[in-house]
Symmetry: C2
Subunit: 353 residues, 2 copies
Amino acid sequence: MIPPAGAGTDLERACLGQPVSRTPVWFMRQAGRALPEYRAARGTGSILSAIADAPLAAELTLQPVRRYGVDAAILFSDIVVPVHAIGFGVDIEPGRGPVMAQPFRSAADLSRLRPLEPETDVPYVAETVRLVARELAGTGVALIGFAGAPFTVASYLVEGGPSRTFAKVKSLMHADPGLWAALMDRLTAMAVASLRAQIEAGAQAVQLFDSWAGSLSPAEYARFVLPATQAVFAGIADLGVPTIVFGVGTGELLGLMGTAGSHVVGVDWRVPLDEARRRIGAGHAVQGNLDPALCTAPWSVVEQATREVLASAAANGSGSGHIFNLGHGVPPEADIAILGAVADLVHAESARE
Amino acid sequence: MIPPAGAGTDLERACLGQPVSRTPVWFMRQAGRALPEYRAARGTGSILSAIADAPLAAELTLQPVRRYGVDAAILFSDIVVPVHAIGFGVDIEPGRGPVMAQPFRSAADLSRLRPLEPETDVPYVAETVRLVARELAGTGVALIGFAGAPFTVASYLVEGGPSRTFAKVKSLMHADPGLWAALMDRLTAMAVASLRAQIEAGAQAVQLFDSWAGSLSPAEYARFVLPATQAVFAGIADLGVPTIVFGVGTGELLGLMGTAGSHVVGVDWRVPLDEARRRIGAGHAVQGNLDPALCTAPWSVVEQATREVLASAAANGSGSGHIFNLGHGVPPEADIAILGAVADLVHAESARE
């Protein structure tokens, strides 16, 4: 990992464990249905169409920055955009998630996963990044790009859609490790290509979403998933931007995730951040970890929970190296006044003189 | 906890950490749609009707014992049977789960939760237990009764159905701890009444399903949930049967669950059993923890995973005090030949001379 020189925003500095003016805060899935301006701008069109409309995607990316006063925008996109763009056959069903017309089942399906060529396959992604970066220049707000981690993208491809058990993808990795490795290689190359294009267009940091890694045992994660995740971060290390890896329910995996090669490890609400730091190991920042289920609770409850996250992140003198976030995405029914108040509280409590 | 004298079956002895002839094995949700004889006997009627038909429920309870050769039957029932029986207004939707006509929202709803009187409210439960106990007498196969833990039942009552975020129930416990405590008290009394009736009718062990406790942070579990769970086990301790507590995704909670008052703590597939034993603490047996997602994998994969569970359970010389099980329920698409082979392998590997 080459440390970026002169990282400009609090978000970037926090990722690197450097001093910040105040603890940066953003919310996973902050651009979404909880915002009335999002619902108005999105209308009833498909999300993949909105992502491919760069001016609209840029507007959706910027809305939560205006609404909440957060320290980072995250590109409005989806982890299945690359596989959709190369013609794998993906739809995103409202209220359900990504669904494959023909799931990945055998070696023959590898031919359906050609390399991603960002300039021709997803030109709208770089265009959205450029539009947003132009708007954010000089504001101190960072733009975060992202990709799906190979395992989590594979889970959709193999299961055919969202899953509770991940039975098909687990069966594949155990039963045919060679095919699994080949699938991971394709998806690793795709994530690297996608992230490089976003960074080159102006993303100042990137997050790799391995959202469902927590469904795996530590042994499965170490053998079948971690090498690909490491390869993604190795594949963008020369670009020198701060990197974040995140999954939900990863309490048993944090030590392994600390070896993935990212600067930051995101943590869900089940593990207090001081304990998470111990498991992840030295040299990493942490991101999290307010329970998103509290986004509809009374303010007094959310206020106390927010203070507890800040205290836990600062325990043992490790006040730096913390990006405040939820432990998972903003739910559609979240109270947006609460989220704005959380951002304000984090800023007020952490302001350095 | 009064240790039962002269516990007769391997299942009971394993719960108490006593020597067994071989490691007992059963599968959560072993009576279910994976079995053709279950689908034939159940037909298309509602599950609540099947539960209320004691001869049918007894048959469904016994089917997996015949099919798999497991060491325990678990009563065919559901954790919402008591609240359904007192007229709270519950339906179980196929493929979805328990749904409330009118969710629990305020103190006024407490009046909808009158005490359970098992003899008049659910006479069919004790009748089913008696029918099954008669069939199993002298076979060495134990009958396990069960109830839903107060938190997990409350999650259905408050959310109105299955939930991914548990936002409403978490908001209630934080925002109105007094009302939450009152709700827990009602559900504790209901679980105690239900379990006592099952034990008195002949259940030789009981499991308390706190299936969704893993959605909580350790601080939430300790403050809002554990006291009620402890009260359930305290309320049946005088009956002297072995007790099991189980939830999924509970890696962070195992130490606390070890103080709940049960003889056994069930563990999902995310934590190896040797590490689980360390977290739970001395004096407890463990139950688990083959990943149910592997129930559709090739036998060579399942065989290795089964051996790993057995080895982990026996690590550090702690070979006794293990009940083999899945880490969560049998999925409907499970390969029943695989499950039978797992039971055989566990028996063969663990047979004592």
